[in-house]
Amino acid sequence: MFKIVNREEMAEGTVVLNEIEAPLISRKAKPGQFVILKVNETGERIPLTMADTDPEKGTITIIYMVVGKSTALFKALKVGEGYQDVIGPLGTPTHLEKVGKVVCVGGGTGVAVLHPITRALKGVGNEVICIIGARTRDLLILEDQMKAASHDLRVCTDDGSYGHHGFVTDVLKEILEEGGVKLVVAIGPVPMMKFVSKMTRDYNVKTMVSLNPIMIDGTGMCGGCRVSVGGKTKFACVDGPEFDGHQVDYDELMARLQAYAEEEKESYDEHCALTQ
């Protein structure tokens, strides 16, 4: 068992953080990599990015949004309990290079995925501006951490309850207008990544996104995670999850994420009925 040693709830309990004992993985993990977790014997294999690692303590941290049955089961786990299986680190690590001015854009739980990448990009000497957004103030996560991980943090809320009133793309546009941006990293809901990529294409700024297709093994043996990038089929679990945002077929990704919409609902409804 992979024991949970620390647990926090954020964004009104819709987002949960688990720090998990996984010494082998924590020593190996690099920014941008993920793990696959299986909660118990009957559980499915769920990919989540490592938001942080502590090699000395031998722990990894995941931050996930509760969206369906599996993440609801994860949420029910208490400190001292744990996951039956954790596999990793998986995926190709973020390509870290000093390029100059970098803008990191995060939405929803994408902020959790973005956090270690932002910190690492700053670590190699880039000037990092961060834009994070949420629907409303109470759903915003990791504000302090993102502030620390970057040189300049801008916050947006869709309803104007905090920071800029509007979308992350509004703020991004302003920064792009100023010029000098060498790289944009965008991680969040697929529509957000799609719009960011569309915008940066107009400004001719290289853009990296992190994709979240449905996965099983995470080692390149099933092809379930295939995405189209530049007209070619790629396996997100081994070739990614980070790709050139200008090359990604977002519509295909969005459709494929709906592959099990009915089954997911059935699974979740049954779970809710049982736990009521």
Binding site: I25, K28, T42, D217, M221, G223, R226, T233, A259
Partner: protein, 472 residues
Amino acid sequence: MTQAAQKPKKEKIPRQPMPEQAPDVRARNFDEVPIGQSPEAAIKEAERCLQCKKPVCIQGCPVEVDIPGFIALVKQGDFSGAISKVWEKNTLPAVCGRVCPQEIQCEGKCIVGKKGEPVAIGNLERFVADHERKNRNAPLPEKAASTGKKVAVVGSGPSGLTVAGDLILKGHEVSIFEAFHKPGGVLVYGIPEFRLPKDIVFSEVAGLEALGVKVAFNTVVGRTVSLEELFEQGFDAVFLGVGAGLPTFLNVPGENLIGIYSANEYLTRSNLMKAYRFPEYDTPIIRGKNVITLGAGNVAMDAARTALRLGAESSRIVYRRSRQEVPARGAEVHHAEEEGVEFFFLTAPTRFIGNEKARLTGMEGLRMELGEPDDSGRRRPLPIQDSEFELECDLVIIAVGAGANPLLTRSTEGLELNKWGYIVADEETGKTTRQRVWAGGDIVTGSATVILAMGAGRVAADSMHKYLTLGW
């Protein structure tokens, strides 16, 4: 049973049938198709063996099981004696008895088969293994004194399990590292329950653990731990038995529509993740009404038969060559046909068609004809101009072969690979181009069979033992 079968005249005994679930019943459940034979039937089958002085059957078995030897013991009713005899050469008889392509191996050579049906060697092997698993009478093989050497086995498929079994008995310490959360490799994630119940595989692995083999799951060598680190941790030798786990796609338009799976994904969802028991198990699977499986090997048969069990109204195999070239075991093709799988030969897919939600609704195929033989010696299928036609379907499973997964090999230095990415290993020893590293099974040969993977494991284990006691 007919009267004639009970007469003592030896040559008159017909091959004892293997009782099976009726096709219409079994096509809707995941229970094993053959039910297994009674001791009486097994003894009677054993009586059919002529106990040849020069048993040609043995030449047909890649691991050279002493076939007349164990059959003679079955005939005497000494089932524990028989299993011990089989174990001398084959550590997974319950598996091999079920999945070996006997018709081209041991039984294909059997002399009795020249004029009638061969001795049912596979069924007998299965019988003694199942009997032993239920009764546990045979003494466990003896372990040699500890050598103090440590061996790492990467992958827990048949090749890895064989290496582990052989080397633990020779007194070495053995640890298996497996990427998945369950052991068995293809035996567990690929071959369906109705052909090979998973409990059989798990019980074999439990047997190895009882002998002292350690199994670390969730360990992706090349990611969680590297080959270098295994040596740093004090392992003296490493065996790579990572299989050929890379799905092949067709590069045909529309291939990423929802409802198109690689056979690996489809079978892994169903077998390893138990999606056939959704929602009791959490992993979902698309249950197609009109299912097409592309390819005609064992993998394709397994996929097409799984689709029926998951409720398909029609399950069709579409193959670009003709019936003569079908690579699957005869028994599997027969089982599939009995269950209602239909075959479309000389047809190749050209395009997949989807609806506005990107869900598969059909496949466009092209008729083929056979031309001159190709590299594989089989006649090459050639497209017939303007012969396109459409087949309605809501699930397509692509089972046209597998390749070498580069995850480990790409991250490991000093391992020579061939042009397809398989590891180059010496046939006689299993040695790779890297010191203290051996390899065998599908990652060396490409997709083959369980018993060949076990044979490669045996060869490597012998060589590893020599190295551990004498040097490289």
